[in-house]
């Protein structure tokens, strides 16, 4: 019970945290890009846009930072057995994240926010790029730590039964990390682009500040089109890597109970949960699973049943992750990403014909599309983390054995309730601010972007 509750708490707080992280990664990069254009062209429109989207970024960073604190504390609070076991390896990237990424991000964000009229323009531009770099470094170290849980490398087990680091380089070149990190960075960019696109589309559709927001609609589409194309193939490659090191994860994602060669991919299926090994497949596409899982036309995929019997070497138990979650999370991600690709291509064509501002249907769809990255990001993490079960560290420690023995069920009920209530309040306030600011923020941004009167005291930022 304590273990289940601790898992619910971790899942809830992590999914929530990851609503904000990709927005920060994506928007920080796009805001830095806007400011670079302003720096190079001197066009005041770009300064206004930088301030406008910069404020949206700041509102998001605040909530991303505080919800990230929970993650850092929670390993020790709820998963002390895990922390004791892995700290010597898993803790190292977290400490490096603090020293290399968090200091950079927070210090330069302060310099950027308060330095508008105090720093030379080039230095000030450097500050927002340092923030963007900080967000990307932070994701890098977190993915390095997380990938070690998926595919542990560069460690040995010492006499006390704890994992200790033996090769830092192995963590850096861990294939799960390399591809997982690329996937998350691109997901951040896609998220940032879709947020920027939706806000721009909202203004364009209202025919308000049209010239201004046509620029950001264009920028987000120009970044989005190549990013989503690359993302689809990186995601595919990540699937191949996972099929190699965590075959259960991919077999479950296809609800593939029996071995197959070549393997087909079902567009939909009915049934196929834990006790249903004969689901009704709808629209099976021959060879597609072989290609996705092995990069070859006729590749073999080992089924869940055989893997389950092989895994008995770890001791008796059920080693099959939740098939329903796996099957649908990979599909939600792939289908939505394909839909976004089509939307982006349509946008590119409209841009080319210079009709972007006139297509009300396209702009409407862009506004709706703002929810999709959040669904895809969540689905991606569900696929990754639920697919690792029953392991907390693949092959080394099971989740069931990893929680804190000294923390009672009552205590976790209290903390879970407190976190959920706090997060509801934070989400409400964040949403109110984001929507209000998206709608009316341009006037604020114009005030902020106005050149300061010489000799006057600078206005208060907070």
């Amino acid at each position: 019970m304590a273990n289940d509750l601790a898992r619910w708490q971790f899942a809830t707080t992590t999914i929530y945290h990851f609503f904000f992280v990709p927005v920060t990664i994506g928007l920080a990069f796009l805001v830095a890009t806007l400011q670079t254009v302003w720096y190079r062209t001197g066009n005041p429109d770009h300064k206004r846009l930088t301030r406008f989207f910069g404020t949206l970024l700041l509102i998001n960073v605040a909530i991303g930072v505080v919800t990230g604190l929970v993650q850092e504390f929670q390993f020790g609070m709820n998963w002390s057995t895990y922390s004791r076991f892995v700290g010597g390896v898993f803790g190292a990237p977290l400490a490096m994240e603090g020293i290399l990424a968090f200091f950079l991000e927070s210090t330069f964000l302060g310099l950027w926010l308060f330095g508008w009229d105090r720093l030379p323009k080039l230095v000030h531009l450097g500050c927002i790029w340092a923030v963007s770099l900080g967000t990307m470094l932070s994701a890098m170290f977190i993915l390095m730590a997380n990938s070690w849980m998926q595919h542990p490398v560069g460690y040995k087990i010492n006499r006390q039964g704890q994992a200790v680091l033996t090769n830092m380089w192995a963590l850096i070149v861990n294939p799960t990390f390399v591809w997982g990190y690329a996937h998350v960075l691109l997901a951040g960019l896609v998220t940032g682009c879709l947020v920027m696109l939706a806000v721009s589309a909202w203004y364009l559709r209202k025919r308000d500040h049209v010239e201004l927001f046509h620029r950001t609609a264009k920028l987000s589409l120009i970044v989005l089109i190549p990013t989503i194309v690359i993302q689809l193939s990186v995601g595919n490659q990540l699937g191949v890597i996972e099929a190699r090191y965590q075959p259960m994860k991919i077999a479950a994602a296809e609800a593939q109970w029996t071995n197959c060669k070549p393997c087909s991919f079902s567009a939909f299926q009915i049934g196929g949960g834990h006790n249903d090994e004969t689901p009704t497949e709808i629209i099976p596409i021959p060879h597609l699973l072989s290609i996705l899982a092995t990069n070859t036309f006729n590749g073999a995929v080992t089924g869940l049943n055989q893997l389950q019997s092989e895994y008995q070497k770890y001791g008796p138990g059920n080693y099959v992750p939740d098939v329903f979650i796996q099957y649908w999370s990979i599909r939600v991600m792939a289908y939505l990403a394909s839909a976004i690709l089509l939307l982006a291509l349509w946008g590119g064509w409209l841009l080319h014909r210079n009709r972007l501002r006139d297509s009300r249907l396209f702009l409407f769809l862009c506004i709706c599309a703002v929810v999709t990255p959040f669904i895809m990001n969540t689905a991606g993490w569900l696929l990754t983390e639920s697919g690792r079960q029953p392991w907390i560290v693949q092959g080394l420690q099971k989740t069931i054995n990893a929680n804190s023995p000294s923390v009672s069920v009552t205590e976790i009920w209290i903390s879970l309730t407190v976190f959920v209530l706090s997060y509801i309040v934070l989400a409400w306030a964040d949403l109110v601010l984001m929507l209000r600011y998206s709608r009316r923020g341009m006037e604020h941004a114009d005030e902020e972007a106005a050149e300061p009167v010489p000799g006057a005291a600078p206005s208060l930022t907070y």
Binding site: L69, L104, S106, G110, F114, Y437, A457, P458, T461, Y462
Partner: protein, 333 residues
């Protein structure tokens, strides 16, 4: 010196850095309603720490992550033992963390007052709770031979732990008041001076009592540590200087006072990292809770290469925004 001792020192330095820097942020947050008095004054107070508070808070995150990486056993036992206290700490960090960025984005008086109170309460709770946690490390908590905590929430409320929390809160308030006196002008500065004067006296007395209690807890007899003597003198200086125009020196003195407080805790703790009140044989020490040698080497290299750079750019940020903050003459919001 052995690597795990070096990492104990690094972690102690990170905690000292956290309280010297974030200590004044807590003081400013807790006092901004009183010293700021009206909306503009409160905003001036918040803006004095505006560019820095987030970077200052990272010292806490890095301290925690370093404990995880260098002493997994310490991190695991401490964070699971302090469970409910940390939940409360996190809620305080939520409210305070978002209040800076969110507060001024709407003019609704209830919105402003709500986030202002979140900032005040958070800034009071955090040093108090962290103080209880650090005091408990030294005082001892019920910990068994497997290094598992065997108590409950109420076992955390040790007299010495609570006193440590109160001491760190009072020192943070003094540090915040001397900081505001240094960073503002006019009426706000005068109010900061008068608050620093009254808190200063309380801080001198509380700090002295707490130092004596520390001696009792560690069984140190009647001979105080040099750090303790230094700390007591520094706090007295901060109190006396707060009545003069030497804003910078008063701030330096309160900074040294808070640094000495954290410093003496960690000096008294070594070579333990967490004392067991059940049996001293079950104490967590730098030896029995440390990570492997190679891991510590890698982290030492990273810290030696990059920490000086961090200090440089954080120092530069303090230099950039060194001017006093005052209200814009025309502002009406």
């Amino acid at each position: 010196m052995q690597l795990h001792t070096i990492w104990f020192v690094i972690i102690a330095v990170l905690w000292v850095g956290f309280f010297v820097l974030e200590g004044f942020d807590f003081g400013v947050g807790a006092l901004h309603r009183i010293i700021g008095k009206n909306e503009i004054g409160r905003r001036v107070c918040m803006n004095t720490i505006g560019p820095w508070w987030d970077g200052n808070e990272v010292w806490l995150i890095v301290a925690g992550a370093s404990m995880f990486a260098a002493f997994p056993g310490w991190y695991a036992t401490m964070f699971s033992a302090l469970y409910l206290a940390l939940v409360l700490l996190l809620v305080a960090l939520f409210g305070r963390g978002v209040s800076f960025e969110w507060r001024g984005k709407r003019e609704d008086p209830r919105w402003l007052a709500g986030w202002s109170w979140a900032l005040t309460i958070g800034s009071i709770l955090i040093p108090l709770l962290v103080g209880v946690a650090l005091g408990d490390l030294l005082h001892g908590l019920p910990i068994d031979s497997q290094h598992e905590f065997t108590g409950n929430f109420f076992s955390l409320l040790t007299g010495y732990g609570l006193m440590t929390g109160v001491t760190l809160l009072v020192l943070s308030l003094l540090h915040g008041a001397t900081f505001l006196a240094l960073r503002t002008t006019g009426e706000i500065r005068e109010r900061a001076h008068s608050v620093a004067r009254s808190i200063g006296l309380i801080a001198v007395l509380v700090n002295l009592a707490w130092c004596v209690w520390t001696l009792v807890v560690i069984g140190g007899g009647t001979v105080p540590q040099p750090t303790q003597i230094f700390g007591v003198i520094a706090v007295i200086f901060a109190w006396r200087l707060a009545t003069t125009d030497n804003d910078a020196w008063a701030f330096v003195a309160s900074g040294f006072g808070i640094a000495a407080a954290i410093g003496q805790l960690f000096i008294a703790l070594y070579p333990n990292v967490m004392v067991s009140s059940t049996n001293h044989a079950f104490n967590l020490t730098v030896n029995n809770s440390a990570a492997g040698h190679y891991g510590l080497v890698v982290m030492t290299v990273v810290a030696v290469l990059f920490f000086p750079i961090v200090l440089l750019y954080q120092g530069w940020s303090f230099h950039v925004f060194r001017k006093r903050v005052s209200a814009p003459p025309t502002s009406s919001a």
